[in-house]
Each structure stands twice: as structure tokens, then as C-alpha cells.
């Protein structure tokens, strides 16, 4: 993608965001909305600049927690997918349960995990793992199942072992699909980390939000939200870049 087409794909949403912020700013002054109900974008920006140093520590704590949870969750997801793919009986018996398990809201599980595992990092990692593993596992299983028939037939005819087929055909074939799951997991992991910090933590963006909520500092909550969005976008962009590099063999016109 050259600079010009990059610019062409960026400016329409950018204009929309700027317009949105302007209307927001205009509305807060025009209707004289109280700052503790809805602060204006300028107020939020000012607040962010003023409290930047204190927020940095919280951001780092959340980032650390999120990255650990994301890595573990992705690994667990891949492991589950590979195991279920190789043991059809397990897949038949467990796959429906895994899907059912997604109907249990994570936020409802979090307090339980706190009771069982205390207030340390473990229950928080478990919460993030729980939200991350599912999209990865489903995408990976789907990718493995869709392996090209002609290629599979070819590998069998030349006497490739199950291991050969897995390493040389099925996994590389599933990579684009796996990455689409990882992309979703990446953004979920931020949410998982914040929720985990809401329930019980002594640092992190989620903890910071709870603190500001109790003193009705709406502007500071908005700053926290902005940071969460920024982390989410960065995570997504990183995985997208990784995808671009790993799937570089595909012709440009069907990359999307």
C-alpha cells in the first residue's frame, strides 16, 4: 500500500472523528452541561496532560497484565484447537461445552475467581485467558478443518505422516484464519484486563477508573477510556502487521 492510498483510507474516518469531537465540544458549551456529567473534549485533554505522570504507572500495570493474559490465552486457545482437531472424540464431546461456556459472562465469573485465587495476579490472568482463548480456539479449529482437499490428498499420496501433514500443510494453511481469531483476542484482552482490575486491584487503568468513579471525576474516567481505546487499537495494529508479514505470500487482491 503506498502513502497516497493509505491517506485515502485514513482521511474519511479522521474527518468523522474530528467532526464528532467538534459537535461534542460545541454541545457542552452551548447547553452548558455540567463538567461532572459530560466534560468537553478540551477539558479531557487538559486533564490528561495534567495527570499524565500518575497515569503512566497505571497504564504500564494494565499493559503488563494484558500482555501476559493475551499470550497465555492465545496459547491455550491454540492448544485446545490442536488437541480437539486431533482427537475427534474430544471435539465431539467438548466443542459444544466450550461454546456453551461462552454464555457465562466473564464479569460474573470474576468475583468467584477472586474468592478462589485471592487478589493477586492469577485470577486476573485467568479472566483474560477466558476471554482470549475462545476466539483463537474457534478460528484455529475452523482453519484446520478447511485444509485444501487437493493438497491433503497429495500429501497422503506421497506418504506424508500425520505430523508432516500437521506441520507442513494444516498449520500453515490455518494461519490466516488463526490470525483473525488472534486479532479479536487482542482487543478482548484489553477489556478482560480492565474488568479484572475493576473487581480487585491496587493499580492499573481499571483500578484508576473505580477510584475516579467514587469521586465523580467524569473527565478522568474519559481519560482512562481514551487510554483503553489507544491500547486496543495498538494491539489490533500489531496483530494486523504480523498478519501482513506472515501472509505475505497471498496475492494483493484477495488479502482481505
Amino acid at each position: 500500500m503506498n502513502l497516497r492510498s493509505l491517506w485515502n483510507s485514513i482521511w474519511p474516518p479522521l474527518v468523522a472523528v474530528i467532526l464528532f469531537l467538534m459537535i461534542w465540544q460545541g454541545a457542552t458549551t452551548w447547553f452548558q452541561i455540567e463538567k461532572w456529567i459530560l466534560p468537553s473534549p478540551v477539558d479531557i485533554g487538559r486533564e490528561a496532560a495534567a495527570g499524565a505522570t500518575g497515569l503512566w504507572g497505571h497504564t504500564l500495570a494494565t499493559l503488563r497484565l494484558m500482555l501476559m493474559g493475551f499470550a497465555i490465552g492465545t496459547l491455550v486457545g491454540l492448544l485446545v484447537a490442536f488437541t480437539l482437531h486431533y482427537v475427534p472424540f474430544l471435539k465431539k464431546s467438548l466443542y459444544p461445552l466450550i461454546i456453551l461456556s461462552q454464555n457465562v459472562p466473564t464479569i460474573a465469573l470474576a468475583p468467584l475467581l477472586m474468592i478462589w485465587f485471592g487478589f493477586g495476579i492469577l485470577p486476573k490472568i485467568i479472566v483474560i485467558t477466558l476471554v482470549c482463548f475462545f476466539p483463537v480456539a474457534v478460528a484455529a479449529m475452523d482453519g484446520l478443518m478447511r485444509t485444501d482437499r487437493a493438497m491433503l490428498d497429495y500429501m497422503r499420496m506421497i506418504g506424508a505422516t500425520k505430523g508432516d501433514i500437521f506441520r507442513k500443510l494444516e498449520v500453515p494453511y490455518a494461519i490466516p484464519s488463526i490470525l483473525s481469531g488472534v486479532k479479536i483476542a487482542a482487543t478482548y484482552s484489553v477489556m478482560g484486563a480492565v474488568i479484572a482490575e475493576w473487581i480487585g486491584a491496587d493499580k492499573g487503568i481499571g483500578y484508576y477508573m473505580m477510584l475516579q468513579k467514587s469521586s465523580f471525576r467524569t473527565d478522568k474516567i474519559f481519560v482512562a477510556i481514551a487510554i483503553i481505546v489507544a491500547i486496543s487499537l495498538t494491539m489490533f495494529a500489531c496483530v494486523a502487521l504480523l498478519e501482513k508479514w506472515l501472509v505475505r505470500y497471498k496475492p494483493a487482491n484477495d488479502r482481505r
Binding site: M151, A160, L169, Y249, K250
Partner: protein, 272 residues
Amino acid sequence: MSGHSPTPARSAVALEVQHINKTFRDRRKPVPVLNDISLSVHSGEFVSIIGPSGCGKSTLFHIIGGLTPPDQGEVLLRGLPVTGQRGHISYVPQQPALFPWRTVEDNVVLARDIAARGSERLPRSEVQGWLEKAGLGGFEKAYPHMLSGGMQQRASFLRGLMAPQEVMCLDEPFSALDALTRSEMQRWLLEMWEENKRAVLMITHSIDEALLLSDTIYLFSNRPASVLHTIKVPFPRPRREAIMEDPEFIRLKREISDRMAEQQRQSITTGK
């Protein structure tokens, strides 16, 4: 250059298929597919199978490759029974089935690497030499989608040729190509094969292709397939395309197409 063990005496039988029978079950109704198929491929011999479409030739390949067990009969390689065992043949499929994430040079060594069980890797210079012979020089680092259909099929053939197994099975290797590319590929295959003299068993629909390339042609009947007729192709090697105008070539071509047409008629009258 070929890197394979020296070619054994011409008369040695590389692959033998003995009295293969296979019946599939479709909703409890037995569907006989192969009926007492016997054929042999000597080392350094090019053998073709011609038959009506859907006559079960691919099933025969699956049996030779060890994917499908036959109901009766045996597959022998150099006299040893290998029925139901995999990895004894090299294979060129109908679709090139190149792996899109591998570069051309990584694709052509795939079958060899799998057969070699990762013991030793082929030096890049040797791969380079093979690619140049196949007219793929300069495309080592290209991905398959960047190649034309003919080039993809050449890479697919090269992948089979570079595998260490003596017997190569070609499953309608040119059927997906347009007529022009196809005749170009036939010429190329003839040259490549005459240089390397592997034992080849090829399935094809094209009578011209079979006569041009083969030493022996097996004519298959309609389903359930049986060997209708065996033709020894008398033209000397090395062959050039010019033999296609030879009166004997034309006579053989007519003979085969007459027999095929007869099969076609029979299948219509019996309502199959």
C-alpha cells in the same frame, strides 16, 4: 545429474498391480469400480492408462498409493508386496496443489524432504539446476500464484521428479491446461522424461498424449473398469512431435478411438 541410484536393467518390473478388485458401497448398494485390473510398469518405462471419465482410474491410484485398500489383489514394487502401504510412489496430481505459502524452490523439494525424513537437505545449487531445466530459472523465490498454469504444472511435475521413489504416478497432469499450453507441456515432459527415464504410470484422456509419450498403453473399459486392451507403442526413442504425422501413429490413434467409441455406445445402450 539425476542423483538417483543407477537405472537397473530395463526388463526389471518396477510396479506391478495384480488382479485388483474394488467395490464401493453407496446406500448399501454395491458399486463395483475396478474389476480384475492387472498391469505392470518396468523400470524406465512410460505407461499410460486411457479410459472413459469416471471409470475409476483415480481409485486405482489411491490403491497404488496406499490410501484405499483393495478388496482383492496386490500391489508389488520390485516384487515386494506394498498393498496398503504409503510413501512408495512419487505423485503428480491433477491440480498442481503447490503450497501457496512456499516459494517455488521450497515447493519443489517438498516431496523429497518428506521422503527423506529430514535426513539431509538438497544443496540449493542442485535445486537451482533442476529449476532451470524446468524453465523456472529466476522464479526460485516467487510464490505459486505468480506463475502461469503451465509453469505451476511444471513445478508440480518437478516436485514429483525430485522425489526419490522410482515409480511416478501422473494423474491427468495436463487436463487443467489450455490446448496450446498442453501440447507445449507434452513436448517438455517428453524431453524431461527421456533425460531421466523414470518408471511412469500416467492417467490421461488424450489419445495423442498417450501415444506421443508412452511405451505401453492400457485401455480401460467403462465402470467397473477392466483392462480392455494393451497397446505397445512401437516408436523409437528419443521421440519428437513429428511422429504424430506418422501413418502408424494415425492408425493406432484410430484404433484406440474406435475402441473408445464402442465403449461409449455400449454405455449408452446399457443405460449406465
